[in-house]
Symmetry: D2
Amino acid sequence: MTKTMKRWTLDTIGVDAALNLTETAVPTPARGEVLVRVKAVSLNYRDKLVRETGMGLPIQFPFVPASDMAGVVEAVGDDVTRFSAGDRVISTFHPDWIDGKPLGDARNPPYRTLGGFHTGVLSEYVALSEDWLVTAPNSLDHGEASTLPCAGLTAWFALVERGKIKPGDSVLVQGTGGVSLFGLQIAAAQGAEVFVTSSGPEKLARAKALGAHHGIDRNAGDWVEEVYRLTNDRGVDHIFEIAGGPNLGQSLKAVAPHGRISVIGVLEGFDISGPAGPLLLKSPVIQGISVGHRRALEDFVRAIDKIGLKPVIDHRYAFGEVPAAFDHLDHGAFGKIVIEL
Amino acid sequence: MTKTMKRWTLDTIGVDAALNLTETAVPTPARGEVLVRVKAVSLNYRDKLVRETGMGLPIQFPFVPASDMAGVVEAVGDDVTRFSAGDRVISTFHPDWIDGKPLGDARNPPYRTLGGFHTGVLSEYVALSEDWLVTAPNSLDHGEASTLPCAGLTAWFALVERGKIKPGDSVLVQGTGGVSLFGLQIAAAQGAEVFVTSSGPEKLARAKALGAHHGIDRNAGDWVEEVYRLTNDRGVDHIFEIAGGPNLGQSLKAVAPHGRISVIGVLEGFDISGPAGPLLLKSPVIQGISVGHRRALEDFVRAIDKIGLKPVIDHRYAFGEVPAAFDHLDHGAFGKIVIEL
Amino acid sequence: MTKTMKRWTLDTIGVDAALNLTETAVPTPARGEVLVRVKAVSLNYRDKLVRETGMGLPIQFPFVPASDMAGVVEAVGDDVTRFSAGDRVISTFHPDWIDGKPLGDARNPPYRTLGGFHTGVLSEYVALSEDWLVTAPNSLDHGEASTLPCAGLTAWFALVERGKIKPGDSVLVQGTGGVSLFGLQIAAAQGAEVFVTSSGPEKLARAKALGAHHGIDRNAGDWVEEVYRLTNDRGVDHIFEIAGGPNLGQSLKAVAPHGRISVIGVLEGFDISGPAGPLLLKSPVIQGISVGHRRALEDFVRAIDKIGLKPVIDHRYAFGEVPAAFDHLDHGAFGKIVIEL
Amino acid sequence: MTKTMKRWTLDTIGVDAALNLTETAVPTPARGEVLVRVKAVSLNYRDKLVRETGMGLPIQFPFVPASDMAGVVEAVGDDVTRFSAGDRVISTFHPDWIDGKPLGDARNPPYRTLGGFHTGVLSEYVALSEDWLVTAPNSLDHGEASTLPCAGLTAWFALVERGKIKPGDSVLVQGTGGVSLFGLQIAAAQGAEVFVTSSGPEKLARAKALGAHHGIDRNAGDWVEEVYRLTNDRGVDHIFEIAGGPNLGQSLKAVAPHGRISVIGVLEGFDISGPAGPLLLKSPVIQGISVGHRRALEDFVRAIDKIGLKPVIDHRYAFGEVPAAFDHLDHGAFGKIVIEL
């Protein structure tokens, strides 16, 4: 007698594509696979784009959305050596990127993720290759742990794996979405001086409560001038560029000589632009960040247990409330949106 | 009785600012300074911009243009230890940048160069701090050696000091100006596969004679598609972005995942722009290059003697022909324009 | 009707352990595996140690020795995507090390290689995971290609992947074994200044014919003083330390400030030792090299086709002459020992 | 009328060389120099070696010992731009090493320090080039600030500038001397997991109070086995090797694959030695650390103000008690020994 499970599926792509709670058989883990009882799923703005546009991906229907989950190993297939039943695990965003360089080429960039090229995790159970999973941190609950594979790792990869920030560096994050708040918390935990730009005093106050040293209200004037004032013209060493578009020009003005601008933004429909002068004279690195590899996620998990970082969750929805959780994506969030099972 | 010398000076800034051959006393080297008999000066497009616009620099009149020279030590001041009379030397573009990070801050980028913030070298003699000079390569004549401090070092700094290219990497240089041809030659000498984009078969043929493996005619269609075709979609690891403006978008399409785009271009009046998608998904580094430091110039000099690189000189002018040499800058050059004394 | 093949096997470990030519069934490639018709095998000194001591590895009998082969894909199992029949391939030494960091921990270092933890390749056919193979260079024959996975990659990993040598650097290789000669050729191809130490003028002459600039006879006096003399006291930037033992002390004297010593030596029974003074004051990096990862081997293959490097083979044996080839290991070789099938 | 000042001088080198409190004229700052009123001096074990052996340096008598001081700018010479009267400053250990690579060659390693090649700072006033000074941190008193130029920067340079440690890394420091305690505090502030080896429970308890997570009593058994036990065989990522000698062999066993061993030890009379096996198979970096450059000291000062690090001072002596302070060096200290003026 086959056991069944519930999962959320799409049968089409579009702005109004219906999210359906459907039933199917619980999968059996094949050789090298692990069956995971999903306990929490975290949404990203990208999940909205996939639902509404498909993002040019070869989507297979019925399609299960979402890339990030935390759960407990229920059973393991033959030859599995990294996990056993009862282990707490999280998923990886790019499952075939273990370390070093990703696969893909210039024409076909690497983008074989869960909840896109591969089917997603908004499901009571998932069966995944053991290579696609990482041990969850001990210090986080399932909801918190589910926020790490995409938003958390993006911030860690930009600041630590690529940016190699150190105590005393200055770091500026733009806005108070999930990646920005992770960036704020990681930078503060490493002894960096943290600047946050946002709109309105309430969000800035919350950002400061999380460890930011300076809040800059984007509505209150030119944020670059405020950076100059606060740093005595030194500028900031590392900027998290979220907004994209002509905002990059502002970041180029605000960055310190030989600093770094990590571009972490929405993929569709945007150009970046800015003046060549400061790019040449200050010679910063501008680097797009596409989440990160499994080895860095393992490093990040170890760090979380050590520094006590707690991901910021705006709201926790029940498994039955998935459509409401997607609606929340439309309105923006202070931190992450999580669905618990 | 004071010895006199000739030098070229400007008394004003402007498109038609007159270049005058004037006479002044040969300077006496102060403590820590070296008096150099200038034997060759190399021009850069930037020298034209300084003459015509001042580039916002605190120009002192009479102003001697040009940043790059090769010469012979005529005499040394007290406490000079690095050089003695008869040594062949070249100048450094950023004299106060010895190694590591440059001076300057976010509002005031580092740009204290010769022939700009400091007076220039288009003079029979110059007296400079011994720290501002580097031993010339043994294997180059004065004219060739004079091309290294700005154009040569820019290419070396981008490809070797920052880019750390290795045999088997692919490198694409845009155009056949001085920096691009240095990039071509350095990349070829390191066993990289070199692509050159230019307009017309004649320049491409000359580039191939210098070691390029592939010439792409920009007039013959979309150069990105040609890169895809030639690399079997792999893309190129390192792109020398000279043109600026929306061309960056093309470079973002042509670059391999985790590749590098060095932006080396004209400073004034240009924005860079391009699509966010490939920047995020392929995660290349985009880095402005502002020449380089003295330690890297010393490394480059050592390399030149070892690999036998000969800078490409489009034309050698006599000291009396400086106005004609500046006119040549307006028309573009295949390699460098040099003035010999 | 099962097809059979020949292979060389050991039934025991020991100085006199017999190498037997035995017959077995040609394997069928499982899901994800590739069947390779072996065309050449290259021996390493380590193969002798495994045969004589087992090196503490969990050897399974009958044991097939040797880690390095070149061959042609005969057939592929289900789900294989990286190769098809007729492709020329080479093996990887550490098959589970794709990029970045290897597996293993402090007590149990990473050492799961072919011809050791895994069975070896001295066999007419081998069936291996497609992930364990790399495309062979176009410019090498099978015998030459078989020398890359261990000796060639060790030199490339030390000098290029880790050492990031550049034109004008100085590189010193000790001796004329397989790894040293690869180091010599790679360094020369990148425009480095190459020093070789060896015993006797004949080997030095052959090393110079391969591209070394300076040969230092170890029997003719203190090689460190000779390095000082040849470099005008500057020292060498990168030393290939093969001998181990107190020789490291000499390398510490010869290395330039902030240089690099790659330790690439025999694993068993040796200590390294040297004076703390130059290690502190000159602050070089000393790094053990344990071959390298697959991504670097792929980079190296691409480089070989570009720079035209031809591995140095001391002698090519026929498949029936394997015992003679092992005897050759005892006497040392100028370059590599290869067995052709 | 010339103002006079007191300073401590040696007229000879030797185990019993007398430290004399002598009088001389307060120096006048030359062009480019700064006159500093010394407020605190910190001693290093090296000061004892210089006094007793001269360390092979070209000592000029009367010789003023000590390299590390904190003070207040009293006056500035012509052309000084980096400091003005009243600024709080600290000295730099290698005054001519600003950034990047140091001067020196293979035969003559870089070692032109204060209190050695240059005269020292155990004096009421010193006149030094403005390039030899760094702004003191706001958050430290003079005594604390005086401990940064040698001991503090050594730990920072090893862990941060070279080691690039990150949250979640494991760091092991050996002993409870000045450099080790700085290493402990820097590593803990960055979210690393810190192990300390020392002898006896009292020192270990004090180390834990400073932020160490694990104390290992060297008298209680094999510290490597204890590291294996505490890390579940993973080993430690970064080891501060202070003891030198055969202890390096233990560090090679304890280090994680691809980890780092920073050798920071006594310069005279010691060899390092260890087994080649783990050096090869785990491929760690072993790197001698010779303090660091001015740019890194400026980074460290900025970090100190941000992370609130307070250097550990074992005892503060008065200026008249210098001989007692030197005696204290003989007995070892928990942290630093400081002399206040």
